[in-house]
């Protein structure tokens, strides 16, 4: 019900935070706290020390830089949900953000927190994979970019080194012919996902799909790309039979397990329908303009 004691640091700058991380490698970073504080209360986690980075104000932003949208890692999910630039250029991100947990959790939960938790049922890893986003990581030694394909390593694990902090997410913004969608199925609103699918695609002049990325959540030990399914869409117009085949390939690539929320058979059935629905919606979005 209440956390165990911990040492607490509240750096006011990124530099200070990075110093702390390099000298206290066993600390946990605290951002919005919607997942971490809950774990502390249940005493599922009892870290020796917390480094609270919510005081670093210059990590909250959404910047439209033409072909790239950059989002500071401490930007709240609510801020992303309500951001104009996101709504216009990256509707998939808004669609995902507004389905995360509940409005109050979104008011404090951060984009960075959601990505770094790398919970297999979280929504944003799938979205960033589908968007081919890059994560910017900083340490005392410098900055590096990690693309989404390399960032999500496993359940609860990212490619970040212990002394690194995720500072920003960079998302390429396509122009014409781009469509994206995020759909998920839950038993009830606010509950954990049964399956979630993010799809982004570009449509060529003749109406066939030129590029696409499909990512799936809650159907494996980590977020997954459905690469065979993506390849099956290239050069195609997504008729129902094409979508059926594509969905079948995505299901083959999934590794769902059975738990309290759903059985793996049901997850597969839901995933199949969801892939069809999401890819269909992306295509519609791409061909509307």
């Amino acid at each position: 019900m209440y956390p165990r004691s911990f040492d607490y640091f509240a750096p006011k700058s990124l530099g200070e935070a990075l110093e702390l991380l390099s000298s206290h490698p066993e600390v946990k970073l605290l951002a919005g706290g919607q997942s971490l504080i809950t774990s502390l209360k249940l005493r599922a986690l009892s870290p020796k020390a917390l480094v609270d980075i919510t005081g670093i104000k210059d990590l909250c932003y959404v910047r439209n830089e033409g072909h790239v949208l950059t989002i500071g890692a401490l930007t709240t999910v609510a801020a992303v949900e309500n951001d104009r630039a996101v709504a216009c250029s990256l509707p998939i991100l808004r669609e995902a953000a507004e389905q995360i947990a509940d409005p109050l959790v979104r008011n404090r939960g951060t984009i960075g927190g959601n990505l770094c938790n790398a919970d297999p049922v979280n929504d944003l890893p799938a979205v960033m994979l589908a968007l081919n986003a890059s994560m910017v990581a900083m340490s005392r030694h410098g900055t590096r970019r990690i693309d989404a394909d390399s960032f999500f390593v496993g359940a609860g694990h990212t490619a970040l080194a212990p002394e690194e902090i995720l500072t920003q997410v960079e998302i390429p913004v396509e122009e014409a012919g781009f469509g994206s969608a995020y759909r998920k199925v839950r038993k009830r609103s606010g509950g954990f996902s049964i399956a979630g699918v993010a799809s982004c695609l570009s449509v060529a002049g003749e109406g066939t799909i030129a590029r696409c990325r499909i990512a799936m959540t809650a159907v494996g030990p980590s977020v997954l790309r459905a690469e065979n399914a993506e390849r099956a869409l290239l050069g195609e117009v997504p008729s129902d039979s094409v979508l059926d085949r594509v969905a079948g390939l995505a299901v083959e690539a999934s590794q769902p397990s059975s738990d309290l929320t759903a059985s793996k058979e049901y997850r597969r059935r839901v995933l199949h329908k969801l892939v069809k629905e999401t890819v269909g919606a992306s295509y519609e979005g791409a061909t509307v303009h």
């Binding site: 019900m1 911990f6 504080i37 609270d52 409005p103």
Partner: protein, 158 residues
């Protein structure tokens, strides 16, 4: 750790253990027991307060994180004993039965109304997904929110 914030317009300064949740400090150190604890996994929303004008689950925030913020709790809504229109609406429309979820519901409603959006009922229901009620079945809570909007409009005109 020294922590300073305002609660319902009053300045507060105290030494507080980092692990103490904001809801504990509000209830215990500050005696503001209107904010309630209904669960331990950030689900129920009975602990909802406003932090810098934004509805927040005070059970999932450390008190030390409130440093430099302005907090509004249920006790801060009524002015000189007169119920705020949101509170009046909840009483009028039977938006409460046992009253335990009510402070959280009222604070979330107050926050929703402060955003001045023209939400339809479907959207209102979604915005309430972080606040659980076991007694009312939510219908009268939604009616209370709608009535509150009317009452606030009337008061603004006056």
């Amino acid at each position: 750790m020294r922590t300073r914030f305002t609660v319902n317009g009053e300045n507060v300064e105290m030494d507080v253990e980092p692990r103490r949740l904001l809801v504990s400090v509000l209830r215990e150190e500050l005696g503001l027991t209107g904010t309630h604890i209904g669960c331990d996994t950030t689900n129920c929303g009975a602990c909802t307060v406003l932090v810098d004008g934004t509805a927040t689950k005070s059970c999932t925030m450390l008190a030390v994180q409130a440093d430099g913020t302005e907090i509004l709790t249920i006790e801060g809504l009524a002015k000189e004993g007169a119920l705020h229109p949101v509170q009046k609406a909840f009483v009028e429309k039977h938006g409460l039965q046992c009253g335990f979820c009510t402070p959280g519901m009222v604070m979330t409603s107050y926050w929703l109304l402060s955003q001045n959006k023209d939400w339809d009922e479907e959207e209102i229901k979604k915005q309430l997904s972080g606040n659980l009620c076991r007694c009312t079945g939510y219908r009268n809570i939604i009616e209370s929110l709608k009535r509150a909007k009317e009452l606030m409009r009337e008061e603004a005109i006056r």
